[in-house]
Amino acid sequence: MQNLRRVSQGIFLLLFLFLFIQTESKGTDKLGYPVKLFLEFDPLVFITTFFSSHAIQKAFYFSIITIVVTIILGRVFCGWICPLGTLNNITSSLKNRRSDTRGRNWHRIKYYILIFLVISSVFTLQLVGILDPISLLIRSFSLSIYPMFNYSVRAFFDAIYELNPKGAVDISESVYSVLKDSILSFKQPYFNQGLFIGLFFFIILGLNLSERRFWCRHLCPLGALLGLLSRYSLLKRSVSEGCNECGICASVCQGKADPDRKEDWKRTECMYCLNCDDICPQNAVSFGFGTKNPSASNSDKEAIESGRGIDLGRRRVIASALAGAVTVPLFKITPLAGSNTFVAKLIRPPGALGEREFLKRCIKCGECMKVCITNGLQPALLEAGLEGIWSPMLVPKIGYCEYRCTLCGQVCPTGAISELRLEEKVKIKLGLAVIEKSRCLPYAHSIPCIVCEEVCPTTKKAVWFETVKVKDRKGREKHVHQPRVDPELCIGCGICETKCPVKSQPAIYVTSIGESRSEENQLLL
């Protein structure tokens, strides 16, 4: 059975990676099915998004399948499907554990985390994406692991290209072009905080060396939710009388469900990896839907079949719920949560909801940043308050919003960025471009430059010229085109800022004033 499970884990991991790589522009405005498919099967995201925003994305109905499957089969998602679980599984196996039997007794922590996250979502604070395993995985891959992978592969092939050892370049370049067409990104992605997001991910993987599937056992809030759902699952594990309590099952258990403790085993921790079934020298363990175990006495049978519920402790449950509730005002007492404070540099993607509604929905999965073709969407740090950490913001100095692209809205799993048709999208204002005359070449130095006007994509250009007669230092007269921004037409896409030749600090830049999504942050009457 364990091989069957491994095949399943492998298939789902590959599916995840395949969809992940598909989440990239191919020069058109359409994607293959993006990686949000995994999030749509994630009931934790579904429930907390519903609580925080009272909105249901239709696609999230998929997650009901996960709920039903868990009620019937138990936490098979953790053991057989979850790609992060599989990665934890693989890293766990890097360490040889003959003597590893018990591990820590910390499995309750994940339930407290779950309670914390759910309660805070009820009070409109959506933090689930920070720790939800699917969201965490997509974010870590998008902003850190995949950029790292690209960087390494490119550096390798570039090195061969530069050194050119005897004819090796032809071969290496053809391999490189195959990779470029398949698994590499169109261009090297760079992300602010990629380092920290990557470290966070590596720490999670590293914890497996301290204890097998540490994250899945002790921390994962989705695992906790599925654990609760699996309490009365129909697929049951039973131990026959043949069990001689050798305890070997405990040493291979992935979930630390104490399978050797007969009536004391923790069925909510079981990930249905079936290792105990495989390894049992007496062949005493079996999984099945039947409840027949005639040789066991009645009371024994019940105990063995149902296992013991998780004893979370009433006080600690209340404490974590309270913590979840108290965190909400703690996060909301920043001026940003007030109605009249706006951050100039907080430029949200096109179609983003109003800031408060946006934060209730954004789970920081990073898909929009992955799919952004100019690399302009970057994870926020504290620009939107701690509540908005790792949420997407456009940084035009890095990349602009491509005029005819609507991909970020297409990949957003929760509707924090609404999906727009192209003709709607081109009308959305992200902000307004402002010219800094002291740096702009035609204004400050009477030197011709028209780049901002040239690249301005609105069909009647928002950047226009005023032709002005100026005098140079020697008193000679000349005409220069000075750029001006028409606030009616500017959509704040930021291409002028990205392409401005004054690179260190562009002489034209976008701020959020005038953004379509806000009623208050407006300039014009």
């Binding site: 522009s25 058109t28 073709i373 491509e402 609105t458 009647k460």
Partner: protein, 300 residues
């Protein structure tokens, strides 16, 4: 060229197009003494006028030899559709690609350093699809392939330029004629910005002179100016179909200055209205004065 001569030429080329190839060559030989400096072909089908113009200009075989590696440089700098006239016409590019292969070219390469996202520009312009279908190797610009080149011009001394341009046996420039805020119009000479690496934005400070410097070092075998649709305002990327004018015309020539000077007339301007055309003519790169050259016009 006077009217009589024009009518004669037009008549001959008209006949030439309706008679078999061999006869066509005879006529061409007979007309060698009045070899046109520009051929201007007009007609509904972009591919037919392109073919006819090149044929009337001496035929592709005069320019492309068996085994040649040819670089075709279209303008595909913008994420716009063909009908928006911000990029070269895909049919024109595909037709020229096909002609090169007919002449025995070994490989036809197509690329441009775009301004918008390259993936989108290549696909949305329709050029990547059309040129690939015609057999061209369409590739994205590879940053490793820029080399510092000595230009020794007035404005540009050295600049990183795309090495594939200099490694090719033949170069065919296929710009689109359109409006530009600073240069007024962008056509063949300005199309070379697409092989410039580095921070090419800076050349706008001395745009006219820089374009001439650049055109001095890049020697196209042939220039095919696409005026099937021209963009008359909000260039160089446009977007508004009201700014697009359908002229159903292509202009073929070797002299970039003459091509651009003629291109200006499509917009109701003269070559001398364009700074870079004027400087180029003064520097001896080509002829700006259209009365001094033989222009052959054909209608399909």
């Amino acid at each position: 060229m006077d009217r009589r001569r024009f009518l004669k030429l037009a008549g001959i080329s008209g006949i030439g197009l309706t008679v078999p190839n061999k006869l066509d060559e005879l006529f061409n030989d007979a007309e060698a003494s009045v070899k046109p400096a520009l051929v201007v072909a007009t007609g509904i089908s972009p591919s037919k006028i392109t073919k006819a113009a090149i044929d009337a200009f001496g035929g592709i075989k005069k320019f492309i030899s068996r085994g040649d590696i040819v670089v075709i440089k279209p303008n595909m700098a913008w994420d716009r559709l063909p009908e928006q006239a911000a990029n070269s016409n895909p049919e024109v590019v595909a037709t020229v690609t096909g002609l090169c292969y007919e002449a025995g070219a070994k490989k036809v390469k197509v690329f441009d350093r775009s301004v918008n996202d390259p993936g989108r520009c290549y696909v949305q312009s329709g050029i990547a699809g059309a040129a690939s279908a015609a057999g061209a190797v369409v590739s994205y610009v590879d940053d490793r392939k820029f080399r510092d080149m000595k230009i020794n011009g007035e404005a540009l001394k050295t600049w990183p330029l795309y090495k594939e341009i200099f490694e090719a046996d033949k170069i065919i420039n296929i710009p689109v004629a359109k409006h530009h805020g600073l240069a007024k119009l962008t056509m063949s000479m300005k199309n070379w910005m697409g092989v410039m690496g580095g921070s090419r934005d800076r050349i706008h400070q001395k745009l006219d002179q820089s374009l001439v410097d650049l055109s001095m070092v890049i020697k196209p075998t042939l220039t095919v100016l696409d005026a099937v649709r021209i963009l008359t305002a909000n260039g160089p990327q446009g977007g508004n179909l009201n700014d697009v004018k359908k002229l159903n015309t292509v202009i073929v020539g070797v002299d970039q200055v003459a091509v651009d000077s003629f291109g200006a007339t499509l917009f109701g301007m003269k070559g001398s209205d364009l700074g870079y055309v004027k400087i180029a003519a003064e520097s001896g790169l080509g002829t700006m004065d259209l009365t001094k050259i033989n222009i052959k016009r054909i209608k399909i």
